[in-house]
Amino acid sequence: MTREPVVIEDWESRRSRFNHDWLKNRHLNRLDGFLALLASPAAAPPDLLAGFLQHDLVEWEKKAGEARDLLARFEDEMSPRACFSQPPLCLLPAARREWLAQDLHDLWRARYPVSDWVAAAREALHEAEQAYHVLENLLGPHAGERVKQARTLRAEFVAFAAACRRLGDCVARLPHEILIV
């Protein structure tokens, strides 16, 4: 008998909004485009560079929080334990429901390298945050100077983009459905 995968729409759609809609479609595209412009300074319009630094790059600060929250909630929302908050399993007597849910959660953690997945994603997030802070410190707060400064920070931008890409890969690797044990 095959078991239908259970999808918790909320976590999955939040992941999709973060990883697909923002990180891959916007953030990495912008970063890579910015790096391409840095590589060919003659073709790089200063307005475009400034717009990226002032509006796009700083979005990271808000989105990093979303990523942290996403990873923090993964175990709760994508463990089979989550099925016990929905019918029909939520109709079980509370006493039985509690131990069964906990057992299933433990089995899930034992069967799949859940901790490793999340740890890898957290590490990638941490690296990206560090790379971002390095960049921000070097760019400085003054809008006028940031473009000039950015032209000298290619290596730092490359490191930030690489860390963000790793984060995207790690988040994409997390299961898209509740894995049944």
């Binding site: 729409e9 891959k24 990495l28 485009g33 910015f34 990226f52 890409r165």
Partner: protein, 591 residues
């Protein structure tokens, strides 16, 4: 001079209109190294762009909502496919966000259905383009950051060449995609019609394989040598391109190809390497491959066998291993059917020849070619620079050009050399082509016409009589015969078996009433006639069963089907005094 390839990118985010600043789009173009040529809102210039790009959102936006616009996409694709510059490649996103606009961001809030892999708008676009006969040949690549696994089977279709992760694509990646799948011009081969671009793409793809053989099939004057040169250039092989022109009854062919040692034959005064050896690590081009003498075919087998690839000089006991790409060209399409060793053809990769289109299939290129040849000969002959009149161009475009590009070049040479001092090329200067106008031909659909292209649609609901008459009237012109080379026999076989099966069914039906098969009754039923002369029935049977006896040999031999006996009955019938076969005893009873 070749122009930049033009690509179409269908993506809801990057394709959004440029009224407001769209940094996502500008940075996307910078990242891919493409010049945005969409409408008026052309973006920042890009150094050494790899392509021009038109970006299309695939959506309609009102004050409050964003909806997908499939027909709008199709029209955009069609508009850029019919005329030059046409799409070299289309990149299609999968997930398109729709729904009410978020007042804060001005972007669609999204609909849960947008994220359903079964309903991805990108897949709907692909399905729709593949259904459209005119557009089905456009090379498509999926560009998405969505999960690939969920749609792997849906997009595994002819014409969809790759799935590229959106955040992984860059300038180099796009260049590779264009090279492998795009319709690209060449700066040495004049023309950008779809048939020539399709042939160049086929040539590029084979040239990447390396140590392989390929067969170029094309009428005289279609540029086989130029394409061989293209294959060599695009293969990036280190060695040289060596050409060998095979003449009919050429006694020296083997010596030229394989080389010889001193004293191997009268006149062999010293050791000499053959063309095959000289082409080591490069490309060996055989022009007029169909002329290779029978005696040399045996020895050629070892050279064409990519697993062996060795050559032996005449008179030498040593063999030499070679690393070669071999291009064989011929205008003799009939070699695919007979007159050539089948195993040699297999080694020549004759099953997948590269078809070079005749000029009549690429009329779109005639103005370019005329311009090119006129300028070339003006310069060569020191003639005046001339304007080419519209009338002259129309006349040249309408001609049939059996000698193809070579004939066109000769005509232009004559027009320039005879009138060196004029500055206007009129219809009178090319009057020689008048009267050579081809019968108007329908444009080649999607121009990636291949031997697999469907033939003309047969009117539905034809009676058997109608079908037979239609089939009798079909006359493949020489061009089609060549394009379908090697496959006509197969088509004929299929037709023969179909007709035999019809007759078999009718014979079985005729036996229901009388207890035994009656040929005249069977044919009467097949033709839907109330009455039928026995002799007419017999001649119909002969027509039905004589299309290809080889193809239905097994059916004729099976006596239980009554087909063999029925055919013998029909063939033995004289002057209408027919006999009909009884079951198991054909030709014994009067019909």
């Amino acid at each position: 001079m070749k122009s930049l390839p033009r690509i179409l990118i269908i993506d809801d985010v990057y394709g959004r209109a440029m009224e407001a600043e769209n940094r996502d789009r500008q940075l996307f173009c910078a990242r891919l190294g493409v010049r945005d040529v969409t409408g008026r809102g052309a973006a920042a210039s890009v150094e050494n762009p790899v392509a021009e790009a038109v970006l299309h959102s695939g959506q309609m936006r009102t004050d409050r909502r964003v909806e997908n616009d499939l027909e709008g996409v199709v029209e955009c694709v069609r508009a850029g496919w019919r005329h030059w510059p046409r799409w070299a490649l289309i990149l299609i996103d999968m997930h398109f966000q729709t729904g009410p606009l978020d007042p804060a961001t001005g972007e669609p809030q999204g609909d849960p259905r947008d994220r359903d892999p079964a309903r991805y708008f990108g897949l709907q676009i692909i399905d729709r383009l593949l259904q459209d006969k005119e557009l089905a040949g456009i090379p498509m690549v999926i560009l998405s950051s969505m999960e690939r696994k969920q749609i792997e089977q849906r997009f595994a279709r002819r014409g969809v060449f790759a799935f590229v992760e959106k955040d992984q694509l860059n300038r180099e990646g796009l260049d590779v995609l264009l090279w492998e799948h795009g319709f690209l011009e060449d700066d040495r081969i004049v023309g950008h019609s779809l048939p020539i671009l399709a042939a160049l793409r086929a040539a590029r793809r084979v040239s990447r394989i390396g140590n392989t053989n390929m067969l170029l099939l094309g009428e005289t004057g279609t540029g086989k040598e130029l394409v061989a040169d293209y294959i060599h250039r695009t293969s990036r092989r280190e060695g040289p391109l060596r050409k060998i022109f095979v003449r009919a009854n050429d006694d020296m062919f083997a010596a030229d190809l394989f080389g010889y040692v001193k004293g191997a034959f009268t006149g062999a005064m010293r050791d000499r390497a053959g063309e095959a050896e000289l082409a080591h690590q490069g490309t060996l081009f055989f022009d007029e491959f169909g002329n290779i003498p029978g005696a040399a075919q045996d020895k050629l087998m070892r050279l064409l066998d990519t697993g062996i690839r060795e050559t032996q000089r005449i008179g030498d006991s040593r063999t030499r291993k070679l690393d070669l790409q071999v291009v064989l060209a011929t205008n003799r399409f009939e070699i695919l059917k007979d007159g050539f060793r089948r195993d040699l053809l297999q080694r020549a990769n004759a099953g997948n020849p590269i078809l070079l289109p005749p000029l009549r299939q690429r009329r779109e290129d005639i103005p370019l070619l005329v311009e090119f040849f006129v300028r070339r000969h003006e310069q060569r002959l020191g003639a005046e620079h001339r304007e080419i009149s519209t009338g002259a161009m129309e006349l040249l475009q309408a001609a049939s050009w059996p000698g193809n590009v070579r004939e066109l070049e000769n005509e232009m040479l004559k027009a320039v050399s005879d009138y060196r001092g004029i500055r206007y090329l009129s219809t009178e200067h090319v009057d020689a082509v008048r009267g050579r106008e081809a019968v108007p031909v329908a444009p080649v659909p999607a121009a990636v016409a291949s031997p697999r292209s469907p033939g003309p649609e047969v009117e539905q609901h034809l009676s058997l009589q109608g079908v037979m008459e239609e089939m009798d009237q079909v006359e493949f012109d020489i061009e089609s015969r060549e394009l379908w080379a090697g496959q006509l026999m197969g088509c004929q076989g299929v037709y023969a078996r179909l007709m035999a099966r019809y007759l078999q069914a009718a014979l079985a039906a005729s036996a229901i009433a009388s207890g035994e098969p009656r040929p005249t009754t069977a044919i009467r039923m097949l033709l839907g006639r109330k009455t039928l002369r026995t002799s007419d029935a017999a001649s119909t049977i002969k027509r039905l069963l004589s299309v290809s006896r080889e193809a239905i040999a097994d059916l004729l031999a099976d006596e239980s089907l009554h087909l063999g006996g029925t055919l013998r009955w029909a063939e033995n019938l004289r002057g209408g005094a027919g006999r009909r076969p009884a079951a198991g005893q054909p030709g014994k009873k009067k019909g």
